[in-house]
Structure formats: C-alpha cells, structure tokens
C-alpha cells in the first residue's frame, strides 16, 4: 500500500470539493473492494476521502418510488420491507452477492462502482489496459473462462461483478450525483457504466469529483420478479451468469444480466435469447456463458421457476 493522506468529509458537497482539490483522490465507504486494490497497488490514490459520515444512509419514499441513500449498506437494503415487497428482484440480487460480512460493510454506491474481478487486473506483474492504458490485455488468450462475451473489446474483456447493479438495471434505477460546484444531476443507470472500447480504464461517465448521493427506484412494476445466479459453488463466488428477470403484468419480460459484460447487460425490449445475446463474442473457455444465458432466458420465457 502506498502512503496516502486521509480526510473525513461531513457533507456530500464537502466530499466532492475535496475530490476536486486532490487529483486522483478516491472516495472510501465500505472499503470492501478499494482496500484490497490498494494493498495490491492496483489503485494507489494519494488521498482518501471518507464518506461514511456524510449522512445519505436512509431509504425514503420519492413520489411513487424509493430513494436509496448512497451509504445504505447492502444488508440493510436487502432487508428493507419496501424493497422486499415491491422490488424483490433487488433484494434477491443483493443476497446473492458476496458474504454476510461483506454485505454489512458494502454500500449502495460502492457496489455500483466496484471494479472487475479479472485476475489479470489484480496482478500488477502482468499488462492490463484497464490498469495501465495501452499496456495490453493479458486476459485475452489467457484465463478467460469467467470473462465477458458482450460489450467487450480487443482492449478488454473484463466483466462488472455486481449482482445488485443487475437488478437495478432491470428496474430502471437512476443515479443522483453531486459535483464539486454543488450542481446535481440524475443519470439513468444504463448510462452510468461505459463499455471499454479503446479506453477500458474509463469505467463510468462520472466526472472528476462527482459523487453518487442516491439511487432512485421508479414506481414498482409488480409482476413476477426473479434473480438467479449461476456459479461454481453455492455461495461466495462471482457469477458465471446471473439473470434478473421481471415478467410485467402485461406478460412482457424485462431481462438484465451479470457475468456477461463490462456493465449490467440489458437489451431494451428484447424478448428472446437471440436478441439479447446478439453480437456475443466467445472463446472456447467462455462460450458456455452464451449457452447458459440462453437456457436461462428460455426457461424464464417458459415460466419455469428457476431458483
């Protein structure tokens, strides 16, 4: 770990301003991912801004929907009675992630901004375009079994590891932010994460110093909601493929996927596997993900209760 300075912010705007003042600073909340990255020196922020004391730890009603503070812990979000009743796919996705100990620390905003689990990203002895732009991708042609097949590029095939974000994507959540100048904006979750293209080190569309303050959920859509996560062991493993599926009261489906792409993957309006998996780019090691996703979609369309 590189030596760094540390400050504890008291308000969201103070945090955003501090980030502007300290180039390459990072916000820290639960620290469940950032601390590991710092120990490996994958991330070497010179300054940490602790946002654990800026409030934003409540879930409140917002119109017909809900407004989730950025600091709400994954455990609390999963257990919230309104989430469990009106957005069950989100609760299930949260509980499919990590372990109880990690969920107790991990926050809503931190979960969205966690970084890939590609093993080469964590191994500083190997080139990685995400870690060091232009150095090359070690994963392509290496151990690719759990890496992406959709939205990937020649520069990077990493996946986004979150379960929670997949459910938020299927629910059309929105992300609220504050900038150092105090201005606020709302970003549809579809636009939060970027695809790698030639710049896999740029993972979100957040601007320097911009801080996520809330995630809002629209009016509950009802219908049948499921989250299924397929993995190599029964708990504490990242998804090979995960699927958030909502069958709306009118019978139409909404799907979003984890484990397939650099961001929660959703093809708006798509009603079958062919549409959703169009353009998949597989290798012998990870071609099974396409088969698996396709089987999951087909099962959901047939009304099979999966988990």
């Amino acid at each position: 770990m590189q030596p760094f300075t540390y400050q504890r912010a008291q308000t969201p705007q103070e945090a955003a301003q501090a980030a502007q003042k300290h180039p390459h600073a990072r916000f820290i909340a639960g620290g469940t991912n950032l601390l590991d990255l710092m120990k490996h020196q994958v991330e070497t922020p010179p300054h940490l801004i602790d946002v654990n004391h800026i409030g934003l730890d409540k879930i409140t009603s917002a119109g017909d929907g809900l407004r989730i503070g950025a600091l709400v812990r994954n455990t609390d979000l999963a257990a919230d009675v309104r989430i469990r009743r009106d957005y069950p796919v989100l609760s299930r996705a949260l509980l499919a992630g990590a372990s109880a100990q990690l969920r107790n620390k991990a926050t809503t905003a931190g979960n969205l901004l966690q970084r890939t689990r590609c093993p080469y990203f964590y191994d500083t002895s190997k080139p990685c375009n995400k870690r060091k732009p232009g150095s090359g991708c070690s994963a392509i042609g290496g151990y690719e079994r759990n890496l992406g097949i959709l939205g990937v590029s020649d520069a990077c095939i990493a996946t986004h590891p979150s379960d929670m974000a997949v459910a938020m994507r299927v629910l059309d959540a929105q992300v609220e932010t504050i900038s150092p100048d105090g201005s606020q904006r709302t970003i549809p979750i579809a636009d939060l994460h970027r695809l790698p293209g030639h710049t896999p080190h740029l993972e979100t569309n957040l601007k320097p110093g911009e801080l996520i303050t809330h995630v809002t959920l629209p009016k509950p859509v009802g219908g049948r909601q499921t989250y299924i996560k397929v993995r190599d062991r029964a708990s504490y493993a990242f998804a090979a493929v995960s699927m958030a599926a909502v069958q709306l009261p009118d019978g139409r489906f909404q799907f979003a996927f984890g484990g397939l792409a650099p961001k929660p993957w959703r093809v708006e309006g798509a009603q079958n596997a062919e549409q959703i998996l169009a353009g998949a780019r597989t290798t012998p090691q990870n071609a099974f993900k396409k088969t698996l996703a396709s089987r999951l979609i087909t099962s959901a369309l047939q009304g099979v209760k999966l988990p």
């Binding site: 590189q2 030596p3 079994r145 190599d232 493993a237 099974f288 698996l292």
Partner: protein, 735 residues
C-alpha cells in the same frame, strides 16, 4: 520398543480414556485466541521487525539486475535480502527449487527478495519498490503437451514407480467386458487457513525459529542444509499450526528468509506469506492425466487392471502416485501400474492430503462405475465381488493387517437406502433438480513411522509428555494425553502434553496419516518404560503391577503415583520402531462413500444433497477428533470433485487464480449434513495402539462418488475434474 509381532493384550485395551470423544484439550485456547500461532508469538521476540517477501514475476529465466536502492531508502526499511547479500545458500534435497532465487529463476513467485522494515506497512510498501530486471526464457507449463516426453521417475521413498503382475495386456485383450477411460485432475492448492509464517532470531550462532511446520526434525535438518550451519545450532518451535495438509511438511521461504533477514539486520524478523503467495511460492498437488483399463469376466470378476498416470514437476522432482490404491484395492491376476513424470517449470508439486490416493480414486472408482454399468451389476456388488484380503500384487503371503471394505460398503448401502437407487441414469427429478446416487470405495495406506517420546511423572503424580510431534489441527495433543492417561492410570486432566519443540525427542511428525498412530505408539512405549521404572523403584514385579486411579498396585499393595515417583519424579523415554511389519502385512484403512447429488437441469450446477461415509481405521483413539478429520477430508474431496482447480496460464507459467475468491474451496453452503460412521475394528498388526491412520482416508474416493452420482442423475459421464457447470451444459437436454 521394537514392534515386530502382533500386539497382545495391553493397557490400551482397557479403553478407560482411549476411545472416548474427549474435546480437544487445546480447543479452549484456540477458540479464545490465546493459542499463539507462529506469527503471533510476539512475547518471544517483542522487537521483531517485519519482512515482506518479493516473488519473481517471471517463471523461468534469469535475474539480470536487482536494484534495492529505492526500497532501502523508503521509510522504516532496515534491510533487503537478495541472493547478492544472502551468503551461500544450498538447496535442500527435500526441495525441488531453491527458496531464494538468483540469478536463476526456477518458477513464478520464487522469492527474489525480502524487505525488512519497522512496520508491516512500511515493508509492504517498500517491497513494491524493489526493481528486478529479468531475462525470461520459455519454459514448459502444459502437462498435456509434455506428456509424450514424460519419463520413468527416479525411485524415491515410495519404491519403484511401476509394478506388473501376470500379463495385463493379453488378459485385457481376452476380457469379454472392458473399460478404457482417461481422466484428468488439475493442480490443487492446500489453502490451509494459516499461510506459512515464521519469526526468526539469532542468539550468537544459534538460530531460533518459531514457525508453522508439520515436521520439526525435517525443518531443523533442511534449515541446516540450506544455511550451512550445524543442526544443533537450530531450534525450531511450532506448537500451534493453522492447518498444513502437506503444505508445511518442509520449511518454506518464510522461515529461511526470516532467518536471513534477522541475520542481516541483527534483530528478530517475522515473515508471513500472503494468501496470494501460497499457490505459486510454495507447493501444490500436481495435475495428473490417468488412463484406467479394466477387464472383467461376465460375472464381474476382474481379470485385468491397469492404471497409468502422468504428472509433471519442476527439476524432475517427484511424481504424483495416482496408481497407489490400484495396487491394493481389488483382486485380479493381471495388473499394471505405471507412473511417468514430465518436466514442467511450474512451482514445486509435492504432497497434499493423501498424495496419490486422493486423485487416484477419482479415476479408478469412476472406471469401476462404468464397468458395473457394462456388466449390468450393482456398483456396490461389483466392489464386494472383487474384494481381496491380501495384497493382490504380492499374493496371499502378504495379507492385509485388517480390511473391512466389504463391511463398509454393505453397512453404508443399508444406511443410505442404496437399494432404492435406479440404475438407469436420468430417471429421478425433484423440481429442476436431476437426482442421482453414487458410491465409491476408499483406501488410504497406513504408513507407520519411527517416533520417540518422553514421559515424566512428578511428585504430585502428574504426567508430562514431551515429543516434537505436531498438532496441525488434528487433535494430537488430545490423543497423546489420552494415551498417557490410559497407560499411567490417571485422569486426562493430570496429563500435560508438550509438543513441537526441536529439543524434545524426535517424533514421526504429522503427515501421510501416520502421525496419530505412530506418535501415540511412542507415548505408549515411553509409558511402558516409565511403568517399569516405577515398579523397579518400588521393588515390585512389573508383570504383576497395575496402574489405576492414580495409584500403582501389586500383590495387594498399593501406592499413589505421587509417592511412587518420589520427590524428584521419574522420567522415561522410548522410541517405537516398526521393523518389517509393513512388509509382512499390507496396511490400509478403508471406507465407502455414498453421495446423493442434484444437478440443475437448466444451469448444470451440481449440489450435494446427502453424504454418508462409513470407515474403518483400526482402533479409534478419539471418535470426536477422528470424525472431525473425516468430515474435513470429505469436504475437501467434494472440492476436488466440483470446484477446486489452480488454473495454469500456459503462456506465463503460473497459477492465475491464486486467492480464495478465485480458487474455490467448498463453503458451508456446499456441504450438507455429513454423516460419518466408523465401524469397530482392532488392528493388532499395525501398532501397539491397534489403530490405523484416519486423517486422509475421508478424501479418498468421495470425489468419484460425486462423479458417479452425477452420471446417475444425468447420464453424463465426466472425466475432467472439477465438474463445474460449463462441463455439463452442452450435454444436458434442451430446456
């Protein structure tokens, strides 16, 4: 004591303390955090500095330059050890590669430097500032590609690599029913809870090493060989060990680098490997390719058995003996077992829990399932039919010391409801889950090993046992205390057991499931001597003297042990030696695994639903610690079947998934309630304890039972471990 003939009746048979499920006597210290593990023994070296190991980032090649100047200038840094300032270091014969590289690099993450600083954080930071330039060369990292170049390994401690009985090829050619299957098993990591850790301190020319090690005397010997100092100058201590599984049988870089660091900065140094360093810096279980051929009569009698195995290792070091169990498990007149070793430039492959048998069963016992199906025979019945009460390679003149495989299979079948199994695969469904049952035999050899202990009785009648035996979480403290309590006729809490110091008598150590039986036998032997000494001191006839209730009695007289010991106490020491008992009798512990799996019809995920293991291992010294070991080994065997795999990056020559997030061991959610049944057995030919090894038995065979259950559930026969969902998906019916 020379143990050369079957044991007659002896005080252990009383079973007053031995054979009872006593809690671990070290359990409270462990769960309350007061048992100090190697890295925590701060009171012994309160001024220890922190060392952080730097590993090579290439697998094969040469260091062309090491620049430590930035690291040395970093805050708090006290010194940096590299091959340039380490002095002359030899390679111990028990290691495949040197523990400090330079200038040659033999494998990825081989240590190239140790950075020592005042704090751990300073050392970790400075470790990243060590600049090493390499001239890499292309190594050999792919077992399948090197298989054709594999050679007959040099004869090692396990005897000849090949064995032949009768004429396998012609018998196989003649056999009306045959199986010819090839299996692969991947590299696996021990992943014990406590990574390798040591604190080293020099007192003049004496080296004190507080470490985590299964074999104290080997640690002294190898440290002596590497550093070129006399063994009597080296003191090793390892009273608590957070798991080993074979990964701590030999000293590793943590110990040697700590010693070098302490010598450099003239102050104690502590070093712990990080989790991520364990797979590539230390040892692992090597991958195998195995071909099994079975030929049988139509009635199911095996006529021909062949097991050929290929593995790789660094510097032609040692082969994985995957054919071990095949030499002994089933009858059959015509047999062939071969092992071939390919040169690979991956990290050192070495012993891991039940080396050989753990992966050997994964192929043999699946091939048996295939044969049963071809014969239209029940798989339990096929195994029973081919039982043999003697070493089938050597003939009836080498009988098994005890063997209750058939009893294990039959008792297990009864308890598990095996008769309800539908032999036709893919017939049973529970919702989305395809349900199947599988069975496997289990055999793990029962090596016995010379071991020595000292037993003392003090003026209060309290007993102290001393031996350099280790407790790697297995329960050694407890069973040795039980042995001494039984022999001396005192309650368990009157016995103190002191282990794992190099100045104690040299024991067998912990490994190869020989530790419990052999070290308890040494305590037995020392107690026999102590009883003789006490009787002699009293002027009594030892043959007529009994030890019970804290007293010794003879011909109507009785005396408390405290009085018998006298004001200075009495002590006795003895070594158990096993002579040619292993030659005279084939010695193995046995078992049978029964598994019910569910395979998700859509996702291909396999989940274990029910587990039963029935075992025999001679006298069980403590049913609670034995059961714990069996359960742990069964869980590990499920890992081998379903998820454990060190993935080789064949371009760069290293294990990519080197942490516990990506190297998947089973978690609680993967292991349902595990039923363990231990059948009664007394083995008088194994040792005076009449016990056999139990620690590695549970891992043998269970993975094959999982494979067979998957086949029964789905009709899909998998032969490349582990069985992750991707391997099933293409074979499952469409949704």
């Amino acid at each position: 004591m020379k143990f050369t003939a079957p044991a007659g009746p002896n005080p252990i048979d009383q079973g007053k303390v031995i054979g009872h499920p006593h809690d671990r006597i070290d359990g409270r210290a462990k769960v309350t955090g007061t048992a100090a593990y190697a890295y925590e023994r701060n009171q012994l070296a309160p001024n220890a500095a922190y060392g952080v190991m730097v590993g090579s980032t290439i697998a094969t090649g040469k260091i062309t330059r090491i620049d430590t100047s930035r690291a040395e200038a970093a805050p708090g840094v006290l010194g940096v050890v590299t091959y340039k300032n380490a002095g002359k270091l030899r390679k111990a014969r028990s290691h495949a590669a040197r523990l400090l590289a330079g200038p040659q690099v033999e494998h990825f993450d081989q240590s190239v430097a140790l950075v020592v600083a005042e704090t751990f954080e300073q050392a970790r930071h400075a470790a990243k500032l060590v600049r090493v330039d390499y001239a890499p060369v292309q190594g050999r990292y792919d077992l399948a590609a090197e298989k054709a170049n594999a050679k007959v390994p040099k004869a090692g401690q396990f005897g000849p690599s090949d064995s032949q009985t009768g004429d396998f090829e012609s018998a196989f050619g003649r056999a009306p029913v045959t199986v010819d299957s090839t299996f692969t098993t991947p590299d696996q990591s021990h992943m014990m809870m406590e990574p390798h850790a040591s604190i080293a301190a020099w007192h003049g020319d004496q080296l004190l090493l507080w470490t985590s090690n299964q074999m104290i005397a080997w640690a002294v010997h190898d440290t002596s060989e590497i550093l070129g100092i006399r063994p009597e100058k080296i003191h090793v201590s390892s009273p608590f060990i957070g798991g080993g599984f074979g990964g701590k049988l030999w000293v590793r870089s943590d110990a040697i680098l700590a010693a070098l660091g302490a010598r450099l900065i003239k102050r104690p140094v502590k070093v712990a490997l990080t989790r991520a360093q364990v797979p590539n810096n230390t040892t692992h279980r090597p991958a195998t390719i195995q071909r099994v051929r079975l030929g049988a009569d139509p009635d199911g009698k095996l006529q021909a058995i062949a097991h050929e195995s290929w593995s790789g290792n660094l510097n032609s070091f040692r082969e994985e003996r995957a054919g071990s169990q095949t030499r002994l498990l089933y009858a059959g007149a015509n047999r062939l077992v071969t092992h071939r070793l390919a040169d690979l430039d991956l990290p050192e492959g070495n012993a891991m829990r039940a080396p050989g048998e753990a992966v050997g069963h994964l192929s043999l016992e699946v091939a048996m399932d295939e044969l049963a199906e071809k014969l239209n025979l029940d798989p339990v019945q096929l195994r029973v039919l081919n039982d043999v009460q003697y070493d089938p390679e050597k003939g009836p003149e080498r009988p098994f010391s005890s063997r209750k495989l058939v009893e294990c299979l039959q008792e297990g079948a009864r308890r598990f409801g095996w008769s309800k199994r539908n032999p036709k695969p893919a017939q049973i469904r529970d919702g989305n889950w395809l349900i199947g049952l599988g069975v496997s035999s289990a055999l793990r050899n029962n090596p016995t090993k010379e071991s020595e202990a000292r037993v003392r009785v003090d003026k209060h009648g309290k007993i102290t046992v001393e031996s350099d035996m280790t407790d790697i979480g297995t329960g050694s403290y407890t069973i040795l205390a039980q042995t001494a309590a039984e022999m001396m006729g005192v309650p368990l809490h009157h016995v103190t057991v002191k282990l794992a110091e190099s100045h104690y008598p040299v024991s067998c150590g912990s490994g190869g499931q020989f530790g419990g039986n052999s070290s308890a036998s040494s305590v037995y032997a020392a107690c026999v001597r102590l009883r003789q000494a006490l009787a002699h001191k009293a002027g009594w006839d030892i043959e007529a003297t009994t030890f019970e209730d804290g007293k010794m009695s003879c011909a109507g007289q009785s005396m408390p042990l405290a009085q018998a010991a006298g004001p200075k106490g009495l002590s006795a020491q003895d070594k158990i030696e096993f002579g040619d008992t292993q030659k005279k009798w084939a010695q193995s512990s046995f078992g049978a695994h029964f598994v019910e799996v569910g395979v998700h019809r859509v996702t291909g995920e396999t989940r274990i639903r029910r587990l039963l293991g029935v075992f025999t291992a001679g006298r069980i010294l403590n049913p609670k610690t034995a059961r714990s070991q069996l359960i742990g080994a069964m869980a590990k065997g499920i890992g081998a079947a379903l998820c454990e795999e060190l993935v080789v990056d064949k371009r760069h020559g290293y294990f990519v998934n080197h942490d516990l997030a990506e190297y998947h061991v089973p978690v609680h959610a993967d292991i349902p309630h595990t039923e363990v049944v231990i059948l009664e057995e007394i083995d008088d030919k194994s040792s005076p304890m009449k016990a056999k090894g139990v620690g590695e038995l549970g891992i043998c065979g269970i993975g094959a039972a999982v494979a067979n259950a998957i086949y029964n559930a789905t009709g899909i026969r998998l032969r490349d471990y582990p069985f992750t969902p991707d391997k099933l998906l293409d074979h499952l019916p469409p949704v």
